[in-house]
Subunit: 224 residues, 2 copies
DNA sequence: GCAAAAGTGTTACCCTTACACCCATGA
DNA sequence: TCATGGGTGTAAGGGTAACACTTTTGC
């Protein structure tokens, strides 16, 4: 009989903070060993009665209390973990969540939203996982309409653009961006305006999943 | 202490047959249970002293005797395997190999090259894995110059086009194809001609990895 | 000389990009 | 009335896609 490794599930959790308009990561701080703090991704172990996807969802749910979150498997990382302890392999998932929705449960686990630009060094090969997740997110977000998962239900064109600028790490042209998004026809323009960010106020939009589904069936593909 | 699953490694092995110009899969036929034959991917189990990548290479090497093969991890599949037996998760890899290079070892394992278009039903969730691998290959091949891995060192423009037509499952325009490939500048046109396929003969080409590396460093990206 | 595949350019269209001014509002 | 962000159109250029005829050679 073969030996078996322990299977960990590590979650790269992206959030977009509308306050400071930055992309953030949800990280866990463990203060073991006399003040030397260590940062890591949120992790758990696979149970024998669940699939890996279920496991990842459970881990995320435990931390945030959230369900129905966009999650996708990245890949398996099997680099040797620090020697003592059993052989472990890690399956990495990334998740997209809307930051404002929850804050209660997070603090219980000493989890913190950290700006991507200020990411500390993480344990094990978690840094590699994050790098990989960013690349995947960049591709996915320009290929499928998943960016909306990081925003509240109603959002302004400006917020959406800022989000994509953060994801792609490059500035985008305001007019061209609006043109492209509008021509895709998968957003509903609401009559409401958000007046927080300017005196004039800016129109709110909503993602329209039915419209997207309908177009997709006709061969349309979202591309930014 | 957590329970631990058995970790299998399953290989989706693509080959391009220059004889009949078709994309093929290397599949294993097991004739257990009175004539009822079952098809599957080439599989093995993870050893505790190797990474997953190493494991996949070992499995492939065992079957084909080949080393230095293009392999890439697809993802983990953890669907419930037929009930009896230990809990297993499977890491799928896909590989690209040049069919003509080896045939000896393959037969020992009753492995067969099967046309993609004639793929039988496979055990477990191997069908899902294959479907996934094809999609991945389609994306990768139009994005990075990996198609050459499926051809011998020297090949004609026509063979390359046929290969891409197989991968993408759609016909391509001869002139536009040559134009694009040539303008990428990563092929060397040799003086030799291959005279097997026509009286006139067609020029042979070689992939030029140095040139590709050089261009890539200047920001060039291969796209078909 | 003819059959069979190889090789080669041009044009139209679309999509992408660059770019600047007026509008609405609250203070 | 003015400061602030919101909203909008056009023109040029580059890239993609469609398309047909000539060349070479073995038989």
């Amino acid at each position: 009989m073969k030996d078996r490794p322990l299977v960990a599930v590590d979650c790269i959790i992206f959030g977009f903070d509308q306050e400071d308009e930055e992309l953030k990561l949800l990280l866990i701080k463990s203060d073991f060993e006399s003040g030397k703090s260590t940062w890591s991704l949120m992790s758990g172990f696979l149970n024998m009665d669940e699939t890996i996807d279920e496991s990842a969802n459970r881990v995320l749910h435990t931390l945030t209390g959230l369900t129905n979150i966009y999650m996708e498997q990245l890949q398996v990382f099997s680099a040797a973990y620090p020697d003592p302890g059993p052989r472990t392999i890690a399956v990495a998932y990334y998740a997209l969540i809307n930051i404002t929705r929850q804050q209660k449960l997070i603090n219980r686990y000493s989890a913190h939203w950290i700006k991507l630009s200020e990411k500390p060094k993480l344990i094990f090969d978690h840094d590699k996982m994050v790098a990989r997740a960013i690349k995947r997110l960049q591709r996915k977000a320009t290929t499928q309409p998943i960016g909306f998962r990081l925003l509240p239900e109603k959002f302004t064109m400006r917020q959406l653009q800022k989000l994509y600028e953060e994801i792609l790490a490059e500035p985008l042209d305001k007019r061209n961006f609006a043109k492209k998004i509008n021509s895709s026809g998968i957003l509903m323009k609401l009559q409401e305006k958000d007046k927080k960010s300017s005196r004039k106020g800016s129109f709110l939009f909503k993602f329209n999943p039915e419209k997207y589904k309908e177009r997709k069936e006709k061969g349309f593909t979202f591309t930014l």
